[in-house]
Symmetry: C2
Subunit: 543 residues, 2 copies
Amino acid sequence: MYCLVKFAPLFLAVAVSNGWLFGDFVGKQKVLDEISLWPLPQKFQSSAVAFKLSPTRFQIVQAKQSSAGPSCSILENAFRRYFEYIFGDLKKPEKSRKKVYDSDLVELQVWVTSADPECDGFPSLQTDESYELSVDEPSAVLKAANVWGALRGLETFSQLVYEDDYGVNNINKTDISDFPRFAHRGILLDSYRHFLPLKVILANLEAMAMNKFNVFHWHIVDDHSFPYMSRTFPELSQKRKGAYHPFTHVYTPSDVKMVIEFARMRGIRVIPEFDTPGHTESWGTGIKDLLTPCYSGSSPSGTFGTVNPILNSSYDFMTQFFKEISTVFPDAYIHLGGDEVDFSCWESNPDIQKFMVQQGFGTDYSKLESFYIQRLLDIVAATKKGYMVWQEVFDNGVKLKDDTVVEVWMENKMEEELQNVTGAGFTTILSAPWYLDYISYGQDWQHYYKVEPLNFPGTDAQKKLVIGGEACLWGEYVDATNLTPRLWPRASAVAERLWSDKSVTDVDNAYNRLVQHRCRMVKRGIPAEPLFVGHCRQEYKGL
Amino acid sequence: MYCLVKFAPLFLAVAVSNGWLFGDFVGKQKVLDEISLWPLPQKFQSSAVAFKLSPTRFQIVQAKQSSAGPSCSILENAFRRYFEYIFGDLKKPEKSRKKVYDSDLVELQVWVTSADPECDGFPSLQTDESYELSVDEPSAVLKAANVWGALRGLETFSQLVYEDDYGVNNINKTDISDFPRFAHRGILLDSYRHFLPLKVILANLEAMAMNKFNVFHWHIVDDHSFPYMSRTFPELSQKRKGAYHPFTHVYTPSDVKMVIEFARMRGIRVIPEFDTPGHTESWGTGIKDLLTPCYSGSSPSGTFGTVNPILNSSYDFMTQFFKEISTVFPDAYIHLGGDEVDFSCWESNPDIQKFMVQQGFGTDYSKLESFYIQRLLDIVAATKKGYMVWQEVFDNGVKLKDDTVVEVWMENKMEEELQNVTGAGFTTILSAPWYLDYISYGQDWQHYYKVEPLNFPGTDAQKKLVIGGEACLWGEYVDATNLTPRLWPRASAVAERLWSDKSVTDVDNAYNRLVQHRCRMVKRGIPAEPLFVGHCRQEYKGL
């Protein structure tokens, strides 16, 4: 019972006293390898007793006691999705159920216990994703406070199922009690360096759910293109040099809705990032005077810099724009960026220079940056949204709301930054060690896996302020052709680090499970690349 | 006329005297960018005069004078393939041709000039791939000695076509005279570390033709698996631990035939590699006593090493096996490997030790290796095939047939090795700088592009012995999920190095053309990854 022995010795003691057949697993490594849970649950005990699942008899159903009824489409959809993951899409359940055999598992009952199952809600930072799963004949029971925990448990249930030598689906008697170590477990994709067709985004949301990620950080626009089609300011994506193409390379309001709903059905929050005042070159064509005119000597050079922070029109625009964003994206947070502001254009502009003098900023342009960010944050706060920012905003001393989430992305002095941000009482998420766009030869997933997010000097209270992390796949070198295999299963390493217990650090054990987990993703249609030499029972069918 | 000015100044002089409108291209960079020939032809002149191609009227036809008739299926298939590349698969040519307009190009006549067009033949190392292409109204003419040159010219013709602002296909008045710099332009794929489904191999043959590669070096079996299904020794792939799976992870005789025919239709040779005496672990389960029993002290350890070179049965097996291989694979060459032979098992075996003494080899096991290889080469020579070998076989002083091709793969002392191999009078191909399995962050295609294969000390006669090179994508980290985007367009850099003139070395110019070429591959269904930030008019539709 390798999972248990290695990772949960305390639980083992309890389990043995309950009479579980751990001893039976000696020599059954193969079966356990095929189970290959990923990420590893917090508490897990399994026995050698196995039940069979018949595609014509097995069902996933709402438990009678459950507060979620048949109208809970988020669960009904998930039941069908996981049935298909387990049995493939060729088999139909029969209407009249045939004889049930002794060793059959006939159903998984999903029991949502809270008065409000949140069927029509959205997951949030406060969402309780815990669940309890008990597999025993004739029924397995999955218990969770709400639909979000139920989704996580369904994924785990599907991972417990394995094919025996006859191709029959089996599942072992199992008890699991599980919850995430961190509340924010994200994937950042950028859709501006290369436009990502909707199909690619949806497939990666699927893969995220398979890895229990719960945040899609959508860095949707930036310097190179503005694919977000705004209802208030359609010219942002429609004008030349806004989006790469105003029809084929944009996300329409309906596309965005689809991403959000597809994510919601999988318990994934969508946090859009509209990064200002830097990273805004593509905004400039659509919105006159939004960007700062750069000067060459005493005359405008014809080029433009970051957002012009000295014009009221800039703030008027931001007010209207973020009003729209706050209604389009249901999540409580918007990511406002604030990173890598280049001062050179501001410095060249005589009007900006004058303003600096008036404000008493001297030549410290970071004060001007803070001036802008401060007003922007107030604008966004007025929409009742919380915000996330990159670490520079904190570093520059901008006054932040208490519920601000600071994202630490610079690997240099990472521990010091975590110490400072949490020392100032802010919640933080870590992405610095997980920039998956940096590729190298070999099994780099191990580097991501070995990161311990709380390995920085600080009090327990400070450690509690680290609410999670994000694997970032910036888009310089990826698009629809190669994004998915480059992300998976490398991001899976981050998934386990953010979900499983701190003690789950055995790389060899992780390798064995991850090999199987990546084949499971492949079987489900995700082109997750191989870790090393080997094969999957079902190889990828696409190109 | 950037191509010409930069790469063929002598030709420019001739061209200007012929009255071509080079001056007109000032300000027409956009059109030229969209043409984006890859690899760049040897001689190329184009004018600003453009003709339109109508999908309902334009045809690719056999020229009346051509020695290839309508029964030449290799051309008839190519005509349909390139028609589809140009117009997509939605449009049907009309039976009755409508009015032809003045500015129309109505047909491409393909004129094969040799008495034997080689319609039913196979390409070879001696194949003449040169062609002449003249685009003028009302007809373009493609002239080649045989179908192989015609295939190369068809690819070039299709690359000359570009869409104007109305989506209409245009082609400029153009004259091209083209031929490859090197005769052997290969891609090595290994199908043993990961099994590559047929679909993946065929797609990559398609991509190879788009880049004028002409050799598929199929490293089909090796230590980890034996997916080649032998008719003489079916047990090699059928027994446990031969192939990964005897049904789902093998290439049947019919699969192999399909690969060879699919490649032939695109002017690509298929050279299989059956690497011995090392790299043979997977052979051992099927063939009793083929591998050397390793010893631990005075008794067999239960493990096995490389092929047992002291048993006649080993040579009997090889004789029968390569007799089959020589009939299954039509190419004049077989790659026999011979690299990385580990002596430790031989050293441990008392029978081998005895044999060493009898032969007077002392403790020099490379002499035993040469003893084996020498006999193997004689066996293969008896099948009338030529052979390719990795550089170690030459380095160890094995006596090689005059027509042996030595493959230089070690990057360390590469120039010295090229000097030695060619100094000894052997033809050689270079793969050392083009191991595409080694990935790194950024635009590594530039490194591959900057290689000059003849940059080693040697006489002109020695330089002529370098007949080409290969881009190798070894399979540790690639399978169906990620092989294709990892190979393309990185291998395209090698394609141009091996086809175009030595003077074609401008990386910026190559970047501009390669960006368009990669989008062209994407449009044709190949998931070629992006070089850098940007977009394709038609993004990849798959995952």
